[in-house]
Amino acid sequence: MNEIRLENIHKSFDGKRVLAGFQAAFPAGQATCIMGSSGCGKTTLLNILLGLLPPDEGRVLGMPERVGAVFQEDRLCEDFSPLSNIRLVTGRRVPRAVILEHLKALGLEDWALAPVRTLSGGMKRRVAIARAVLYGGDVLVLDEAFKGLDEKTKAITMEYVRENTRGKTLIAVTHDGEEAAFWGGAPIKMEALP
C-alpha cells in the first residue's frame, strides 16, 4: 500500500476555476481529513481522486484499484434491501452472516431485509457506510458521510468505521472540527479560489 499523492491538479467548470495547482499527500494506512468552506472544491477533489472526474491537468498517484466511498448522497437502490444493496457491490465474496453482523453493529438488524425506500435518512446513510466498509478496498473515501446522523448514532457509526478500517487509508471530507479531531492527524485545509 502506497501513499496517495495529488500532483498539480487543475480543474475548471465553464471557465470557473475550482482547483488550481492543488497538491496533497495522503499517508498510507492513516486517516486524513479535508476541510474547507462549501464550494471550495472538496467534492470535485474527491471525484478526481476516485477517478470519476478527469483533472484538466495534473495527476493522481498511488490510488489502488479497489476503493470504497461514501458519497454525499446515499446512492442506494431504493427498491432493494440493505442486504441486497451491499451484495450488489460485494457479490458472494462477503457471506450473508457477515453483512448482517455489520448491519447489527449499526443498529439496522431489524431493517436488513426491508426495502431501502422504507428506511429513514439516517438509516440509509448507515447502509451506504456499511456498503463502503464491506467492499473491502485499501482506501475508504468519506464525503461528509456522517452528516444528518444524531450525535449518538454518529458516535457509534464513526467508531464502527474506525474499527473496521484499521490499517487502511481513510480520506474524509468534513466541516466538523470534532470529526476531524476524531480521525486525528493534520487536516488538509482548502479555500475557495477567487
Binding site: L50, F71, R75
Partner: protein, 251 residues
C-alpha cells in the same frame, strides 16, 4: 374501501351504458343496424356451447399472444443492447422508425405476399408491439439515475448485477406502461390482419363472415369476445410482470 368506490362507480357507469344501448336498440328496432345487448348475450351463450367457438378463440389467441410475446422479448433484448452500445442504437434506429411509421394495412398486404395467412396475425402483432416495447425500455435505460451508475462504476459492479439492481427497476414503469398500451394494440392489429387476410379458423374470419352475411349479432358477439380476451390477457400479463419485479426485489 378506497378501491371499492371507483370500482362501484365504474360498474354503475357500465350498467348505464348497457341500458342506453338496450334502449337505443329497442327504439330503433332494426337488429341489422343495432343489435341489442341482450341478443348479443344470448348469441354469446349459444356460441360458448360450440366446440368450434373455443377452437377459433384458441387459434387467434395463440397467434396474437405469440406475436406479442416475441415482440416483448425482442424489444427488451434489443433495447438493452442499444442502451449498452450506442452504435447498435443507431443501427436499429431506421428499422424502428420504419416499423412505427408504415401503416399497418401496408404491412398486411406485404406480409400476405411474404407469409401464409396463418402467420399473418403473429407478424402484424409483433410489428405493432415491438417499437412500443423497444422505445419505452430504451427510454427507461436512458433515465437510469446517473449517480447510481457512477456508484456501480466505482465499485466495479458486473453488468449482470447492474442490470438486475439498477437498470430493471428503472425500466419497470416504462415497461409496464408499454405493455398496457401494446397489449390492446396487439389484439386490434392482430384481428384486423386476420380480417384482411381472411385467416382460416380465426376470429378475424368470423368477423369477415358476419360482414358478408350481415350478421350483426355475430359481429357484436365476436367483438365482445375480442375485448374480453384482450382485457383478460392484459390483466394477467401485467400481474405476472408486477409479480416478476416484486420477486426481483426480494433477491
Amino acid at each position: 374501501m378506497r378501491q371499492a368506490k371507483p370500482a362501484l362507480e365504474k360498474a354503475i357507469a357500465a350498467a348505464l351504458a348497457l341500458l342506453l344501448w338496450q334502449l337505443g336498440a329497442m327504439a330503433l328496432d332494426q337488429p341489422l343496424l343495432l343489435v341489442s345487448p341482450l341478443r348479443v348475450l344470448r348469441r354469446l351463450g349459444s356460441l360458448c356451447l360450440e366446440a368450434a367457438f373455443w377452437k377459433t378463440v384458441a387459434f387467434s389467441f395463440q397467434r396474437i399472444a405469440a406475436g406479442f410475446l416475441l415482440a416483448f422479448f425482442a424489444g427488451i433484448l434489443l433495447a438493452l443492447l442499444a442502451g449498452r452500445f450506442h452504435l447498435l442504437e443507431m443501427l436499429f434506429w431506421p428499422y424502428v422508425v420504419t416499423i412505427k411509421s408504415v401503416p399497418v394495412a401496408s404491412f398486411v398486404i406485404l406480409c400476405l405476399i411474404w407469409l401464409s395467412a396463418g402467420q399473418l396475425p403473429v407478424f402484424i402483432s409483433f410489428l405493432m408491439v415491438f417499437p412500443i416495447i423497444y422505445t419505452n425500455v430504451l427510454q427507461g435505460i436512458k433515465s437510469t439515475d446517473p449517480k447510481l451508475l457512477e456508484m456501480a462504476r466505482l465499485y466495479k459492479v458486473p453488468w449482470r448485477r447492474r442490470l438486475l439492481y439498477i437498470y430493471l427497476p428503472s425500466i419497470r414503469p416504462f415497461l409496464i406502461s408499454a405493455c398496457g398500451v401494446s397489449l390492446g394494440m396487439a389484439w386490434k392489429s392482430g384481428v384486423a390482419a386476420e380480417v384482411i387476410g381472411i385467416t382460416e379458423g380465426s376470429i378475424g374470419e368470423m368477423l369477415y363472415e358476419s360482414k358478408i352475411y350481415f350478421n350483426t349479432a355475430d359481429l357484436f358477439c365476436w367483438t365482445v369476445v375480442i375485448i374480453l380476451i384482450s382485457v383478460a390477457f392484459e390483466k394477467l400479463f401485467l400481474l405476472l410482470i408486477r409479480k416478476g419485479f416484486a420477486g426481483l426485489e426480494k433477491l
